[in-house]
Amino acid sequence: MDKKNGLKGTVTPLSSEITDPHWVENRRLWLQRAASGVVGLGAASWASRHALAQSAGTEKPGKLASLPGAPSKVTGATVPEKTTAYKDASGYNNFYEFGTDKADPAANAHTLKTTPWTVAVEGLVKKPGKFALEDLLKLSPMEERIYRLRCVEGWSMVIPWVGYSLAALISRVQPLGSAKYVEFVSLADPKTMPFVGSRVLEWPYVEALRLDEALHPLTLLAFGMYGEVLPNQNGAPVRLVVPWKYGFKSAKSIVKIRFTEKQPATAWNKAAANEYGFYSNVNPEVDHPRWSQATERRIGEDSLFTKKRKTLMFNGYEAQVGQLYAGMDLNTNY
């Protein structure tokens, strides 16, 4: 792989970017990442991927290494809504390993070390193993998907993610017939994550899906957003995005994926089972005990005094995912 060409390819594509100071500022970081292989993509494919990202219309913030994706062909993967400003999507986060205030992750997550990074795949699979991040990046073509993100707290965003269906990885490791659930474990490193050890949650952060949910094409293994690699505060270098569930189901900075027969105990469910169910599908009809889930505030878009917008069943993905829950009582399986 020719890293030099890879770099040139990204510096030169648009005349408007040639003098962009961001690229000059970030060249060092860029070199580090490219050298360590985080974005060690082939130079030949680079230009075409870049062109595709341009056509998808996502404006790159110019903060981190580029990670383009082709517009996804998965049904429902591109909502026709205005994307949230990068500043808000990367500055207003829940990532309790870095603090409980929503400005904390952006302020504290620079300590997270994302290279080298491996994801262990364990449990009920034919081919368990450890995947280096660079191998995961090459496992399937990168797609750009514009998803709604609905937080359980009653706010929402629209984010252009870059990644591919988790199903691609799952088919690679070949789950056994006994596998019913997939567990996702986030990094819990007290040295780089100052709030690991706080009593808010049990660490490491654990999330899980039913296997059929994990296999759904909309379930995304994401490596980037806004055409660039994920900022640390958004769950770098690899995270899950499950657009029809409340945001906390989408585990960040994943280090382990485990296939199990029994339903795994998940972080928020352990902390407050009456407030955060295992499924936690976005559902305007099932309220959180302390607030209504019928409406939401779109960050950066709805003005202060506009009425909150109506929350959609399964966050608007009912046509795609409704059948996963056919016959289930969503009031008890919240």
Partner: protein, 212 residues
């Protein structure tokens, strides 16, 4: 020396308007934040939370007046107590307005349903009602009409307000096990209320002076 100076200042004419402006500063800061977009990505949430925080802070402040007077550190503060108390009401009103407007879209149906449905909101609303009763009877004519004794009894409801306020805040933070701030306010209010209980029972003779 310093205390004597402070005493003289507090007794003077400038103290009241100055304190008035000082206690308006949090509101000024929030208005500035709204106008110049300094409240972060979710200004509505920031406003609801900040007005709640400032209600608790004003409550701590007003409950500090009597201990400081009785212990003899700053007796001149007593003259300013009513105004501080009215600021508690002012900020709780802003808190309720922020909730009704920004969270509930000023829909009376939704607001009533929400209050009845959620214990955490109900507790906050109960505190608001009590504070309304106290604010409504804060002027001299009301004190005269009620008589000093009944007025004092009524205004002991501020202790209930403190308890309800802490419970409201605790409930809000409960699911996240995020109790540091709750504990801080609870500790401050516990000291202020504890001091009253202690002074009442240990020195019954001076009860009349220390009651409120």
């Amino acid at each position: 020396m310093l205390r004597a100076k402070l005493q003289r200042f507090l007794a003077g004419a400038a103290a009241k308007p100055l304190l008035f402006c000082l206690l308006l500063m949090p509101l000024a800061w929030l208005v500035f934040g709204v106008v110049f977009d300094r409240l972060g990505a979710n200004p509505a949430e920031a406003l609801v939370r900040a007005t709640g925080d400032w209600t608790l802070r004003m409550l701590c402040l007003v409950l500090l007046v009597t201990p400081l007077r009785v212990v003899g550190v700053l007796p001149a503060l007593a003259r300013l107590r009513r105004m501080v108390g009215l600021f508690v009401f002012f900020y709780v009103l802003l808190h309720f307005m922020a909730y009704s407007w920004l969270d509930m879209g000023l829909d009376p149906d939704d607001i009533v349903k929400d209050i009845v449905k959620r214990p955490f909101i109900l507790v906050g609303f109960a505190a608001l009602l009590l504070l309304t009763a106290l604010a409504a009877t804060s002027f001299n004519a009301a004190i005269r009409a009620l008589g000093a004794k009944r007025w004092r009894q009524l205004h002991r409801a501020v202790y209930a307000v403190a308890a309800l306020g802490i419970l409201h805040f605790y409930w809000m933070r409960a699911a996240k096990h995020n109790f540091a701030e709750v504990a801080l306010y609870a500790a401050i209010l516990a000291v202020l209320l504890g001091w009253r209980a202690w002074s009442r029972f240990s020195r019954p003779a001076s009860r009349v002076q220390t009651a409120t």
